[in-house]
């Protein structure tokens, strides 16, 4: 999402970086460009003004002027101010009721992506060991209830509904009874999309709030929203005193100015980013990591977490042993591929790697996830013996494998070559590791070498 904004900010700040000394004029000019790029990214006008004046004040202060690398120092200030603008660490944690049923209420404008995000949140809670229930309170939009039911089914979470003739307050009351009977511990209420200026519909939300006293009232906001975002958030907050925001459609290429504005104007944290149409694409929002991503400093922490999420610890240790002994075979190769796929779309991962944001060639690289499917098919068409010892795969075996996997001999050759290359690479890595001793610098990454 933030790529375009980060491109612009980076090129501006790059100009400063190289300079040995900064004049007031240099900073003035840079700040004007920063202001422009933030406005073009839909950041709220007032927020931009405060942001720029804060950065400017600090940049003209002694911490920069007396520094040996003033340009770097300015980048550091921009980073710090960005983090400050986007919120504090740990704000994104959800609140639960330790003694009773926890209620979450989802609200927002029409088409913000409430139902989809509701499903994602339910899936996440279920994964964390909760027993959630979805409650269909959108009685206005045609087929909204049906949509929630489909979503609920896809994540394996029950949906409570009473059709579209019952008032949402009654539905919520009945849902509570249902939840108590069925041992539900988190009730997520999906409400109808509404305009923030529609008083009667806003009152309906207030009534729901009074009925269940939710622990979390989450406002769903489209990342593509323009200057109106702040107005929407302000109004919802006035009525409901929301507890946080979920930013949706973050996988678009909007520059995400809303993310920067909301925290500042409404003083409520962004808790999650909803990044796609698959049900596991809900990310926790980390202001510091986001600031790093905007400034092209990469987001290694998120990659590591994704890896930890997707990889089985035992398997990983096993794999590490194998790598050391260099008896890494095609079965292991396949396993690694499958784990990689668990980490989500590769393009997303690439975007988080430091330096890639600035690399033009790599940035436009579209990874064809279908390639992985072919690779999988090819390996699965091999016999156990072949997988364990790829050296025995001769011409006629190659032909058979190609036919079996519905690919071509060339593809099989390609794969075997890749495997060979990788084995060579592994050799190098393990010798480097030996010489370097066991440095912990790379975190968990050493274990999860990328198999291509």
């Amino acid at each position: 999402m933030f790529e375009n904004l980060s491109d612009k900010l980076q090129s501006t700040l790059q100009k400063l970086k190289g300079k040995g000394k900064l004049s007031d004029k240099d900073i003035d000019l840079a700040m004007k460009e920063v202001k422009m790029s933030l406005l073009e990214a839909d950041v709220n006008y007032k927020v931009v003004k405060t942001f720029v004046s804060n950065v400017k004040e600090r940049a003209l202060g002694s911490e920069v002027m007396e520094s040996l690398t003033p340009g770097q120092q300015v980048v550091k200030i921009v980073h710090e101010e960005l983090v400050k603008t986007m919120g504090q660490q740990g704000e994104s944690k959800l609140k639960f009721n330790p003694n009773d049923i926890t209620y979450f209420m989802m609200c927002g404008l029409q088409g913000a992506g409430k139902t989809t995000a509701t499903g994602k949140l339910a899936k996440k809670l279920k994964k964390d060991g909760k027993k959630p229930l979805l409650v269909a309170c959108d009685i206005y939009r045609p087929a909204a209830i049906k949509q929630l039911e489909v979503v609920g089914e896809s994540v394996g979470v029950p949906v409570f509904q009473m059709g579209d003739k019952t008032s949402p307050v009654t539905i919520v009351k009945e849902a509570t009874k249902y939840a108590m009977k069925h041992g539900i511990d988190v009730v997520i209420i999906d409400t109808a999309g509404r305009l923030h200026i529609d008083e009667s519909l806003m009152d309906e939300l207030v009534q729901i709030k009074q009925t269940v006293k939710p622990e979390e009232i989450l406002l769903l906001l489209d990342a593509m929203t323009g200057q109106d975002a702040v107005k929407v958030a302000e109004t919802f907050n006035q009525y409901l005193d929301i507890t946080g925001v979920i930013l949706t459609k973050v996988d678009g290429d909007a520059r995400g100015g809303a993310a920067l504005s909301i925290r500042n104007v409404v003083e409520k944290p962004i808790k999650f980013l909803s990044v796609g149409e698959k049900m596991d694409q809900l990310e926790i929002f980390y202001p510091d990591r986001m600031a790093s991503r905007i400034l092209g400093m990469g987001d290694v922490l998120s990659i590591i977490e994704k890896a930890q999420d997707a990889f089985d610890e035992k398997q990983a240790i096993e794999m590490q042993k194998k790598l050391k002994k260099q008896d890494f075979n095609l079965d292991d190769f396949l396993q690694q591929l499958q784990q990689m796929k668990n980490m989500g779309p590769l393009e997303d991962l690439l975007g988080m790697i430091p330096g890639i944001g600035q690399n033009k060639k790599l940035k436009d690289l579209k990874i064809n996830e279908k390639e992985l499917v072919f690779t999988e098919a090819i390996i699965q068409s091999m016999t156990k013996k072949e997988r364990a010892n790829p050296n025995i795969i001769n011409g006629s075996r190659r032909k058979r494998i190609a036919a079996g996997s519905g690919t071509s001999v060339q593809r099989v050759n390609q794969l075997l070559k890749q495997y060979d290359d990788m084995k060579k690479m592994m050799k190098k890595f393990s010798s480097i590791e030996k010489t370097m001793g066991k440095k912990k610098g790379l975190g968990g990454m050493g274990r999860f070498k990328i198999p291509f």
């Binding site: 406005l39 006008y45 088409g111 949509q147 593509m224 323009g226 459609k249 678009g252």
Partner: protein
């Protein structure tokens, strides 16, 4: 339909949203007009700020400011109170310049509705179908959003309300196949208008855009005797991303009209101006509510007047 009544309804609804927010465009402009008697740099800078906060974007805002400067020089304007009319004139001209005034022929028509997720495509289709039906036209709707959960059910409900025929298939089927079937139906039943729904897609998703291009090709090839319109639906709350949306959708299937939705909120669709200006695509309809008759033909003067009322 009663033209006069319709016009009034459109106006009233647009204004309704505005009146509820105190900080609307006009009031902001009036405030600075009041604060500054003379048109000077300071005044223009504040004006610039107001225009930007209405999502018009940097470029269009600069163009407007430049135009004001010219007008001020040319007509020796001094009083700030004249500014509002200058801006209005500029914006109306911009919108009208790209309107196509092609006469309506008796040809069969296909309208393909595209856009990103959640902008109100399905709702708009329900309303358009109803409008044509009211005009006595034979309408068929194709439910080619086979991806989103319950999208087909939603469209079916709209079609029942509008009392028009719908061609639908199960969720997960190839949207191209649905469109193909719908075209055959439109031919066989000699419908006047075929309206095709498509799944919402983010314009930066290559695969989904390829799918859209395939759908467009099917329409182009299978129904070449019809007049083909592709309308992009834009949510009035959209920010600067709207321009990129319009650009990328235009590259995929030649967009020749815009539908601006959710104008009953506080956002007044400022993003429409740079889109019209840069891509030279006219606005066709505006959506002002959730009821079936909450869709109006676009009229540049009314639109600009409603914003500045």
């Amino acid at each position: 339909m009663d033209k006069e009544k319709e016009k009034k309804g459109f106006f009233a609804k647009l204004k309704e949203g505005l009146s509820k927010t105190k900080k609307n465009l006009t009031e902001q402009i009036e405030n600075i007009v009041f604060a500054h008697r003379k048109i000077d740099d300071e005044f223009l800078e504040e004006l610039e700020e107001i225009l930007i906060t209405s999502d018009m974007g940097m470029e269009t805002t600069m163009d407007i400011i430049e135009y004001i400067k010219q007008e001020v020089r040319k007509n020796k304007l001094e009083d700030t109170s004249e500014i509002k009319n200058v801006i209005k004139k500029y914006l109306v001209n911009m919108l009208e310049e790209h309107e196509d005034k092609e006469p309506v022929s008796g040809q069969q028509r296909v309208i393909l509705i595209v856009g990103v997720n959640g902008v109100g495509k399905t709702t708009s289709i329900g309303k358009i179908a109803y409008r044509f039906k009211e005009q006595g036209k034979k309408v068929i709707v194709a439910a080619a959003d086979t991806f989103r959960a319950a999208a087909v059910e939603q469209l079916k409900e709209w079609c029942t309300r509008a009392d028009v025929e719908i061609i639908a298939s199960e969720n997960g089927t190839d949207p191209g196949a649905v469109i193909f079937d719908a075209i055959q139906a439109a031919k066989a039943r000699k419908s006047d208008i075929l309206i095709c729904d498509t799944a919402g897609r983010l314009h930066n998703k290559k695969n989904l855009m390829n799918e859209l291009s395939k759908i467009f090709k099917i329409v182009d090839k299978e129904f070449s005797e019809a007049k083909i319109d592709v309308y992009l639906v834009i949510d009035a709350t959209t920010g600067q991303n709207g321009i990129i949306q319009a650009k990328l959708f235009s590259e995929t299937c030649s967009i020749n009209g815009l539908i601006l939705t959710k104008l009953d909120g506080t956002a007044k669709g400022g993003i429409a101006f740079p889109i019209v200006n840069e891509l030279k695509i006219p606005i066709k309809y505006v959506g002002v509510g959730e009821k079936i008759d909450d869709l109006q033909d676009f009229n540049a003067e009314d639109f600009v007047n409603a914003i500045f009322e």
